[in-house]
Symmetry: C2
Subunit: 243 residues, 2 copies
């Protein structure tokens, strides 16, 4: 019997993955993932079998992993960022319910953390992550979570702020958040994290609405304590005000 | 002029850090951190200067980094987990306000992600992280955030669930959460993540109150969708119910 590693690759380039993730890929007979991620690995892992499936092929991808592991292969199922957070670990574990394939989840640096690091330290303590994609989550639930995050005064990382099929989601979210905070709230965006055309920008809540934001952008909304220090977005933890 | 890397070391052992974090340590003249973390690095980085400061010495630690970088040294300030989330990045950026030392934040795998991976995939989409330590955050804010997380039906990772000086915090938190969810809610704990005596356990909300939980434990509270599959804690993303 083989094994499946679900590998969080971190942001962008190889440097962003953990040493443990690199070892799992090295140990695998077969690397499976979404076309775009597998293409990034093709040059480095020429000796491995690489299989790519397209968008919306998530069940097929997991099913392939279970079947290849059943044949005795060691398989890495690669995910950008973390293996769990908006990754494939949960679906694979669900689909493995009636099999007994060994599954090891290898965590990775999700965009909330890698984007924060580029901006400064907006997520320095308690925080929330919310995706605006309503592909799998009803918009009512997304709105409920945005309102709850604002009520809790959490710094917030927003994934999938918009895409071609839902260009208005970020604007709807900003309208909701504006009920709870003023337009000068420090915010920021990080786009193409870890890639050659990586770009970050610190701004206010009001300014977010007019920025060029796409599906490769992660948006950060500060909490009431968040400030801009030397151009970096920072949520103080409270050490400076503690006597 | 030198430079400070704030390095998220990930959980426990070297394997949990990113390749980029390992390169930053290698490139540094000096590694600074909390005694326990620096001791873990002592053997591997014998050629480096290592400086440790104790608990509650956070300002002194950051000040030392800025002053050593001012002398032209390349310094790594090491943090367990991520560099930002409950790490030193925000304080260092605050304290660097009137200096012009270059600071690069290198993100790492925080316990919410590494603990999730061990348990299965409880944080598979939107989620919240809340610390129960009231050292820097008033308990009223902690309670507000717990209530907001429950109102938003977020899966929740709880850091610093209790310590010797605040043994009752987790019980108080569980009492609050019980107002919003029933006692059979799937939950889990991960202790000493990435270390030799690593331990994970899947349980219910009711059972959490009687487990052996300390300051090295991260607690996971499922959302209303979270289930236990083959002993793993899993929050489905919705692929299986999507037609």
């Amino acid at each position: 019997m083989g094994k499946v590693y679900v590998v969080g690759m971190g942001p962008g380039k190889r440097d962003g993955m953990t040493i443990r993730a690199a070892k799992a890929l090295e140990e695998s007979d077969l690397i499976i993932g979404y076309t775009v991620y597998v293409d990034l690995l093709r040059e480095e892992y020429q000796s491995k079998e690489l299989l790519a499936t397209g968008m919306r092929q998530e069940k097929e991808r997991c099913s392939l992993c279970i079947s290849k592991a059943g044949e005795g292969k060691t398989v890495s199922l690669v995910c950008s960022g973390d293996a769990g957070v908006y990754g494939m670990a949960s679906l694979l574990l669900e689909m493995n319910k009636d099999s007994d394939v060994e599954i090891e989840v290898i965590p990775g640096v999700t965009a909330a953390l890698s984007g924060s690091a580029l901006l400064g330290a907006p997520l320095s303590g308690d925080f929330c992550v919310v995706s605006l994609s309503d592909n799998l989550t009803p918009w009512e639930m997304i709105e409920r979570r945005l309102r709850s995050a604002a009520l809790g005064d959490f710094p917030l990382a927003i994934y999938n702020p918009c895409s071609k099929s839902r260009p208005e989601h970020l604007k709807k979210a900003l309208t909701i958040l504006s009920e709870y905070m003023d337009g000068e709230r420090p915010c920021g965006i990080a786009r193409n994290i870890g890639r050659d055309d990586e770009k970050v920008q610190v701004c206010t809540l009001n300014e977010l609405g007019s920025l060029d934001i796409d599906m490769f952008t992660t948006v950060f909304i500060g909490c009431s304590d968040t400030v801009i220090v030397n151009g970096r977005l920072v949520t103080p933890r409270g050490y400076m005000s503690k006597v």
